[in-house]
C-alpha cells in the first residue's frame, strides 16, 4: 500500500546509511550540516549512496532541526567550527553572503559542466547571487498550490472539475463551504509571524499587481484585505495567525479545510494518510490582472568561509545535482532545482508532481537582498496587524512600507 513506498524508501535509506555512516580509512571527510531530518528525505538517500559509491571521499552528515539551523550556523561561525557544506534556506543567502560568511563559488560553478546555469530554474539561480557574485548552488526547490478536498466540494454542491480561477471565485467557494461553528473552513493559508507567512502572502501581493515598492497602493491593500476578509468572515480560521503551513495541512487532512495552500513537502504524508478524494489547483489570479505568480522556496548548497575541504564539498554538490540524484527528489516531496529532470511516471498521483513542476515557471524568488530578514519581518508584522484587526490593511502596509523603502533603496531588488 502507500505505506510501503514510504517504508521501502526509508529502509533503503537506513540500510545504506548503516553502510556509509562510518567514513572509510584515510578518505577525506566532507562535513555536511543539513536539514534532512525526516527519513523520507531524498537528501539522506543521496548522502548514503555517495558514501557507498566513493572510497576517497566520504560525507559526514549532521542533521540539524530547521528551527535550529540559524543558531548552529552562528555558533559555527563564532567558534570557527564551520562545516564544509551546509544547506541553507534560499532567501538567507544574500544576508549571510553580505556578512562574509559564505565562500564565493562563481568560478567553480562556471567551470563545472553539471552545474550549468541553463539547467536551473532562473528564479532559483537568482537566489544564489548577491551583489553580482555567486555564493551558493540551488539544491531543491518547492512552490505553492492549493490542495483541494474534492469530497467537500461535491458535498457543497460544487463541481470539483471546475476549480476557482480568480480571487473572487475562490472567496465564493470558501464562503459556501465554511462553517466556522463546526470548525470547518473553506480556505487555509499560513499567516504566522515567521518567514512562512511572508512566503505565503508574497504571491498574493505580486498577483495583485503591486510590488514591495508599491506597498501603499490600493492593489497591495487589496491583496492583504483578501486575507483579512477571509478571517473576519470566518472562511479561514483565526488560528492561521499562529499555524505553520504544515499545521494548516494537518487541518486539511483531517477534513476541516476545503482548500489549503501548501507545497510538495506534504505529499509523502498526504499519500499515506489521506482519506478523501483530493487534487491540487494553482493559485487563482486576481480578476482583471491575470498575473501568475507563486512562491519559490527550497534550500541551496553553500560552503561557509573557513571550510577546510572546499573542492571536496564542491564535488558533493555536483553529485547531488546530477540527474540521477536530482530525480529522487520527487518521491520525497521535493522538486529538483534543475529543469531537465522530470517526475517519474510511476509515482502515485504523478499528475500532482507535474502540476508543481508546471508552477515553477511562475515561481518568484524572495529577494535576493542582504536585508531580507528585516523586510520579511516588516511584512509579517503588517499581515498580523491587519488580520488581527489592530490596523486596517492600508495602515499596516504603510507602516511596513516605511521600514522597507529605505532597505530597498540601499539594496534594490530586481523585479520587486
Amino acid at each position: 500500500m502507500k505505506r510501503r513506498t514510504f517504508c521501502t524508501l526509508a529502509t533503503a535509506g537506513s540500510a545504506s546509511l548503516a553502510l556509509g555512516a562510518r567514513p572509510a580509512r584515510a578518505a577525506t571527510t566532507v562535513s555536511l550540516w543539513h536539514i534532512f531530518g525526516y527519513s523520507t528525505e531524498p537528501g539522506l538517500i543521496n548522502i548514503a549512496r555517495f558514501n557507498a559509491s566513493r572510497s576517497d571521499l566520504q560525507i559526514d552528515g549532521k542533521s540539524i532541526p530547521f528551527g535550529q539551523l540559524s543558531q548552529q550556523l552562528v555558533k559555527g561561525v563564532a567558534t570557527g567550527d564551520v562545516p564544509d557544506l551546509i544547506t541553507i534556506d534560499n532567501p538567507t543567502v544574500a544576508s549571510f553572503a553580505s556578512q562574509g560568511v559564505l565562500e564565493e563559488v562563481g568560478a567553480r560553478v562556471a567551470a563545472s559542466r553539471i552545474l550549468a546555469k541553463d539547467r536551473f530554474f532562473p528564479g532559483s539561480w537568482a537566489t544564489t547571487i548577491s551583489q553580482g557574485k555567486q555564493f551558493a548552488v540551488p539544491g531543491e526547490v518547492n512552490t505553492l498550490l492549493f490542495y483541494v478536498n474534492q469530497d467537500l466540494l461535491r458535498a457543497g454542491g460544487l463541481d470539483p472539475a471546475k476549480p476557482p480561477q480568480t480571487w473572487a471565485e475562490l472567496t465564493a467557494v470558501a464562503a459556501k463551504l465554511a462553517d466556522p461553528a463546526k470548525g470547518k473552513y473553506g480556505v487555509g493559508v499560513s499567516a504566522i509571524q515567521t518567514e512562512e507567512g511572508t512566503f505565503q502572502w508574497l504571491p498574493f501581493l505580486q498577483q495583485s499587481g503591486a510590488s514591495l515598492k508599491t506597498l501603499t497602493s490600493p492593489d497591495a491593500a487589496a491583496a492583504l484585505q483578501l486575507w483579512v476578509d477571509w478571517v473576519q468572515k470566518g472562511y479561514a480560521s483565526h488560528d492561521i495567525l499562529v499555524k505553520r503551513q504544515s499545521e494548516m495541512t494537518d487541518a486539511w487532512l483531517a477534513g476541516n479545510t476545503a482548500m489549503s495552500l501548501s507545497g510538495p513537502w506534504e505529499l509523502p504524508r498526504i499519500l499515506r494518510d489521506v482519506k478523501f478524494a483530493w487534487t491540487v489547483m494553482p493559485m487563482p489570479v486576481r480578476e482583471g490582472r491575470n498575473i501568475h505568480a507563486t512562491a519559490l522556496g527550497g534550500y541551496v548548497w553553500a560552503i561557509p568561509k573557513g571550510a577546510r575541504n572546499i573542492d571536496a564539498a564542491f564535488q558533493v554538490i555536483e553529485y547531488m545535482l546530477a540527474p540521477e540524484q536530482a530525480a529522487r527528489s520527487f518521491a520525497g516531496g521535493r522538486l529538483p532545482a534543475v529543469q531537465d529532470v522530470q517526475p517519474p511516471t510511476d509515482l502515485p498521483r504523478a499528475e500532482v508532481y507535474a502540476a508543481f513542476e508546471g508552477q515553477l515557471q511562475y515561481a518568484r524568488p524572495r529577494g535576493p537582498s542582504p536585508e531580507w530578514p528585516r523586510i520579511s519581518e516588516a511584512l509579517q508584522r503588517a499581515i498580523q496587524q491587519a488580520v488581527t484587526g489592530q490596523q486596517s490593511a492600508q495602515q499596516a502596509l504603510a507602516t511596513a512600507s516605511a521600514t522597507i523603502a529605505p532597505l530597498l533603496q540601499r539594496y534594490p531588488i530586481e523585479g520587486m
Partner: protein
C-alpha cells in the same frame, strides 16, 4: 597540621566551596563575560569569530530602550513572572498540603504529578498548542460542552489572550516543582509540634499560620526566588507555542533576546537583553540573600 585540625580548619571550607565555584566560574562565568562584552560592541556575523569588535559603549542598551517593543516586552515579562510565581506557589502549596494528608496512594499520586517534567519542551509546547487550538482544541471543546462559553476562544491567535495561554501552560509545567519542594519542606516539620499545639487548643488554620508557615520560611524564600528566576528564563515553551506572537503579545525578554540574536543577527542587542535580565535577577538574588542572613537557627 594534624588530620583532625586540617579537617576543622577554614581551608577545608575553601576547598569545598572552591571546587564548585571554580567549576561554575569557568563554565558559566566565561559565557556571562562573553555576553557582557558582546553587549557593548557592535557585533555582526562578520566579526563574530574575533573578540576585537567595534566598541559602542552603551549604544546597544540605548537602542533597546528606544525600541518600540521594549515597553511591551517588559510589561509582558512582568505580568508573566508575577502571575507564574504567585499561582504556581499557591497551587503547589495546595497540592503539597493535600498530598501530605494520610490516605492510600497519596505519595504515588503526588509523584505522578511530576510526570509532566520529564517531557521535552518541544512536546509540551506542541501538546498545549493543540489543546488550546481554537478549532480542534480540547479546551475549547470542553468549555463549550460544559456550556461555559458560547463561541470559540482564540487562545493563541488573539493578541490579548496569547500571554494568558502561555502563562497557563507554564503554570502547569511549574506547579509540580513548587509542590515537591514544599512537600519536602513540610516533611521536615516534626509532628510533635503540631500535637503540642493541638493539645493547646489551636485549630488547623492557626496551626497552619503560626507553625507551618514560619517553619517553612527558608523553603519558601528559596522556592520563590528560584521560581522567579526560572520563570524569567522560560523560553522553550513560549517559543514553541506562539513564537512570542501574535505581534509580540507573548514576547518576553528571553524570547526577544533569542530572536534578536538568531533571527535578526543583532548579537549586540541580544546580548544586551541577556545582560539586562541578569541585572534584574540580581535584585531577586540580593533579596534572597537578605532572607538567608535573617535566618535564625532552629
Amino acid at each position: 597540621m594534624s588530620r583532625d585540625r586540617f579537617l576543622d580548619s577554614p581551608t577545608i571550607w575553601a576547598l569545598l566551596i572552591g571546587a564548585a565555584a571554580l567549576f561554575l566560574l569557568l563554565l558559566v562565568g566565561y559565557p556571562i563575560a562573553y555576553n557582557l562584552v558582546m553587549s557593548v560592541q557592535e557585533v555582526t556575523l562578520g566579526n563574530l569569530p574575533s573578540f576585537s569588535r567595534p566598541w559602542v559603549g552603551l549604544e546597544n542598551y540605548r537602542q533597546l530602550l528606544a525600541d518600540p517593543l521594549f515597553l511591551l516586552v517588559a510589561k509582558n515579562t512582568l505580568i508573566f513572572t508575577i502571575a507564574n510565581v504567585a499561582v504556581q506557589f499557591v497551587l503547589g502549596l495546595g497540592l503539597a498540603l493535600y498530598f501530605q494528608l494520610s490516605f492510600p496512594a497519596s505519595s504515588f499520586l503526588r509523584g505522578l504529578v511530576l510526570v509532566g517534567w520529564m517531557l521535552p519542551p518541544l512536546v509540551i509546547g506542541a501538546v498545549w498548542k493543540w489543546l488550546l487550538g481554537s478549532d480542534s482544541g480540547f479546551v475549547n471543546y470542553a468549555l463549550q460542552g460544559l456550556g461555559l462559553i458560547s463561541g470559540k476562544i482564540y487562545w493563541l491567535s488573539d493578541p490579548s489572550l496569547s500571554l494568558l495561554a502561555v502563562t497557563i501552560a507554564n503554570i502547569w509545567f511549574g506547579a509540580p516543582f513548587n509542590m515537591i519542594l514544599l512537600a519536602a519542606g513540610l516533611a521536615g516539620i516534626p509532628a510533635d509540634i503540631y500535637e503540642a499545639a493541638a493539645l493547646d487548643g489551636a485549630g488547623p488554620v492557626r496551626r497552619f499560620v503560626w507553625i507551618t508557615l514560619p517553619l517553612l520560611r527558608p523553603t519558601i524564600y528559596a522556592l520563590l526566588s528560584l521560581s522567579t528566576v526560572y520563570t524569567m528564563r522560560a523560553f522553550d515553551l513560549i517559543y514553541t507555542m506562539t513564537h512570542g506572537g501574535p505581534l509580540d503579545s507573548s514576547n518576553i525578554f528571553p524570547v526577544w533576546s533569542y530572536r534578536m540574536s538568531f533571527e535578526l543577527f543583532d548579537f549586540g542587542g541580544g546580548a544586551a537583553i541577556a545582560t539586562a535580565m541578569f541585572a534584574l535577577v540580581l535584585v531577586v538574588a540580593l533579596a534572597y540573600v537578605r532572607s538567608v542572613n535573617a535566618e535564625r537557627p532552629m
